[in-house]
Amino acid sequence: MIDEMTSRSLLSLKSVSKSWKSFQIRDVSLEVRRGEYFVVMGPTGAGKTLLLQLIAGIHYPDSGEIILDGVDVTYLPPERRSIGYVPQNYALFPHMSVKDNIGYGLRVRGHPRDEVERRVRELSSKLRIEHLLERRVSTLSGGEQQRVALARALIIEPKILLLDEPLSALDPETREEVRDYLKEVRRMLGFTAIHVTHDFIEAVDLGDRMAAMFNGEILQVGEPMEIIMNPRNELIASFTGTKNLFKGEVVARRGELAEIDLGGVRVYAATRRSGKVMVAIRPENIVILLEKARISARNVLEGVIEEISEKPPYISLKIDAGLPFTVYLTRNALEDLNLGVGKRVYLAFKASAVSVF
């Protein structure tokens, strides 16, 4: 049993602690299995980046052990760990072309030039960035930079890939596309990854398992849906913000627009997914209307206010619109609209405010 656990585990952190500048990691123990896509979710300042940097060897822990593929790497320098690291700002080397960026890891390991060239081309064609190879880094868009950074990290065939907030620099419309891209690349290349994020949609959509991290501590580890449905404490519950999370099925589509049946209630979403899906609508992205006015929002649902409560800095409304919705308003908006329990209102939100996964 123990043998089976250790062989399945690719990376294990044992009681790792570190304090660096204003960031802290407190007694973190973690197992990442071979081939697993592991998501670490937590708010800004939770120490997620520091955790990745400890695993990469950029910092050494104050105490604890890091075991990678059966080897104690706690104090091994980064160049001897074989870890792929994609930092949040991608950090593409500005003085090199895209091709030289991707090939860097092979060149410094002394691979012959023609082999570097061939492997860069192979991987680039798999990642669909072959057309970017001769470009200068400064001419790339955010999404292109990300793909190049991914290729640069993957070319050394790392034991584990570390992704620091890979989607946070992208606009919401392209995030679904990039999540799909990451899944596709993973299917193709089959790597083990740790992905750090503050967005539970990424955790649910990409993660095999996830850890919830707050103030440098891991508070809960498990399958993403399990954590979101059964958060161990109020901190996790409030952060994962599992408001307005529904199961549904795509029943019709017009181009980029999908009509999703949530069990009686239908919403429109900007997604390319089909079949059974999960749908999330952030409470602060819903607008309350008193009349069914003509507005640009694609979705307008009718409902009755059931409860009004404080959710600093917002006011939280529970509204029955066929399904239980939660909406956050500012106090000013609440007073302007003169809302009260039992009042009939309309919920309006854009198709792009509906996250599908």
Binding site: I58, E79, P87, V108, I156
Partner: protein, 269 residues
């Protein structure tokens, strides 16, 4: 009119701004003229034939070659020893770092004759360090090495602070990523850090070289011979008067302008 209700209108505001720029332009022109007039006069007074003659003058050529090679040697020394120091200052914190950085700038804050006295005092051939140096054939008084040492003393601080600020501006994440990709510390330094800091390093080296070429005071104290070009200008001026100094002056001015243009090109690239 209607818009001026309750405070300034746009028009008032605009006039104020323009007045400010008008006043500042007048004040600014005065300093521009003070600086540019001597340069223009020097070129107007210069007979190109005399400059050509100066370039044939063996004493001038020797002084130029002494100055340029000594300045280049000082610059290379600053590069070789100053670059590692600058990197440490940019990347690591240690006790008394601020004090060290301040002390390294002292040569820029003292009269150059004083800098010359300091160099001579510490390294003259009968001093304890000077004795060791003379055993390997380096004597400071009236020698090429004395010129190099005096130049290094007054110009190295410029290189160190330029390289240090270049290194500080580089996001450490670049170095971190290079390390994870398999490059050791040294390889990362030479393939990532140095290329990214190259602009600061090159422009720092050029300013250091130019500063070394322009040194007079310390050389007068440490090594008036072999004669460097700045000392030759003084000698000609004192022996033969203002007009005798003009050809060399024009030559050095031209070199100075070229240096500044090169720096300008590097910083825009």
């Amino acid at each position: 009119m209607g818009a001026s209700q309750g405070g300034l209108s746009w028009g008032d505001d605009m006039r104020r701004v323009e007045n400010l720029f008008l006043t500042f332009s007048i004040l600014g022109s005065i300093i521009v003229l003070i600086l540019l007039i001597p340069m223009m006069v020097a070129f107007l007074m210069t007979n190109p034939i005399q400059v050509g003659e100066a370039l044939m003058d063996l004493e001038v050529l020797n002084a130029l070659s002494t100055t340029f090679t000594a300045a280049a040697t000082a610059t290379i020394s600053a590069l070789l020893f100053g670059t590692p120091l600058a990197y440490i200052l940019a990347r690591r914190e240690f006790a008394l770092k601020n004090l060290l950085e301040s002390l390294l700038n002292v040569p820029l804050a003292i009269p150059h004759s004083v800098a010359g006295i300091l160099v001579l005092l510490a390294y003259h051939s009968r001093s304890s360090i000077g004795e060791i140096l003379s055993r390997i054939g380096i004597v400071v008084e009236d020698s090429f090495w004395g010129i190099v040492l005096a130049m290094l003393f007054v110009s190295a601080p410029i290189f160190i602070s330029s390289a240090r600020s270049g290194f500080s501006m580089i996001d450490e994440t670049f170095e971190h990523v290079a390390r994870t990709l398999g490059a050791g510390h040294f390889k990362t330094f030479f393939t990532i850090t140095i290329p990214l800091a190259s602009r600061s390093i090159i422009s720092g080296a050029i300013v250091t070289w130019a500063r070394a070429v322009s040194e007079v005071g310390a050389l007068l104290i440490v090594a008036p011979y072999p004669k460097s070009i700045a000392l030759l200008v003084i000698e000609r001026f004192e022996a033969f008067g203002l007009s005798a100094a003009i050809p060399i002056t024009a030559l050095l001015l031209l070199i100075g302008i070229i240096v500044v243009l090169i720096l300008n090109y590097i910083s825009r690239r």
